[in-house]
């Protein structure tokens, strides 16, 4: 399965994402730079975490307007799988590929810790290797992960099963509405989440709870 990783100035989790995709898919992902207008034929596009453009204006706002994101939008419209982690989630929201907004953490503090996630919908292309309601662990590291959507959007997300990951066991680190940690678009091929599953994929990380997410998305059997 072929994958590509989007590179932007200020991202800092790109090497983690590349390492995870290489280990799980068995081949190194292609990389695409912010000014690239075309993305090679791949099954999965990943937008890593970090602080693209120094979080200027709003987190992800400048990155979302770069040429590469128009290419990502075109691929997403054609059904290519897209995952945005942390800053990647913020970029997808700013680009309008996912609904809602990610605001400053309610605590106003940067949070870097491990949280528990409930698989709120195991019937998505990103979670099919998990059990419904399963609780997994995942690291988080962000300052602006407080997911917000208006009442109508929220009702639609909840009603259509688009809420995929939810902070569980009182571990919501940012005050996000309905404990939302990750959502998919209405077509189900674009996922954004604040936690970093790419940092929990092998024993050396202290566990592999995040691995099944990539195996699901890449269509890799256990």
């Amino acid at each position: 399965m072929k994958s590509a990783v989007v590179l932007l100035p200020g991202l800092n989790r790109d090497r983690d994402m590349i390492a995870a995709l290489t280990k799980i898919s068995g081949q190194a992902p292609a990389t695409v730079w912010q000014t690239d207008t075309e993305i090679p034929d791949v099954d999965l596009i990943a937008i890593p975490g970090g602080f693209s453009f120094g979080d200027y204006l709003r987190c992800g706002a400048i990155a979302a307007r770069m040429p590469v994101m128009r290419a990502v939008a075109e691929k997403a419209a054609k059904g290519v799988t897209v995952i945005g982690v942390c800053n990647g989630f913020q970029i997808l929201v700013e680009a309008g590929l996912l609904p809602g907004a990610l605001m400053r953490n309610a605590s106003l503090k940067f949070v870097c810790r491990q949280v528990k996630l409930e698989i709120a919908n195991a019937n998505t292309m990103f979670t099919r290797r998990y059990q419904p309601g399963q609780i997994i662990r995942s690291p988080v590291a962000h300052h602006d992960g407080n997911y917000f959507a208006d009442a109508e959007t929220l009702a639609r997300l909840e009603g259509e099963g688009q809420v995929v990951f939810r902070y569980a066991g009182g571990t919501n680190p940012n005050g996000s509405i309905n404990d939302i940690a990750g959502i998919v678009n209405d077509k189900g091929n674009v996922l954004g989440l604040m936690p970093h599953p790419e940092n929990l994929i092998e024993a050396a990380h202290g566990g592999n709870d995040g691995r099944a997410l990539f195996e699901s998305a890449l269509g890799i059997a256990a």
Partner: protein, 79 residues
């Protein structure tokens, strides 16, 4: 031509930064401070002279970049 764009959070959107400022102000002894909401101001110089076009352009700038209309409102003033 000079323009000022003010971006503010919509009503009903929680503003933890505004809340922290509100508490800091009361901590400094300013009594009678109600709700504080934090926003952004952009001062933009424009080279054109057509005010109507400028206003339309500025609104487009807000919709496309300067404001996130999911959570923010904007106001455009041309000096």
């Amino acid at each position: 031509m000079k323009a000022r764009i003010t971006v503010t959070l919509k009503n009903g959107v929680l503003d933890p930064q505004g809340k922290a400022i509100e508490h800091a102000l009361s901590g400094l002894g300013f009594d009678g401070v109600g709700q504080v909401r934090q926003g952004k101001v952009f001062d933009i110089e424009l080279t054109g002279t057509d005010k109507a076009k400028a206003e339309a352009d500025l609104k487009a700038m807000c919709d496309k970049l300067l404001a996130n209309t999911v959570i923010e409102n904007y106001a455009v003033e041309i000096a």
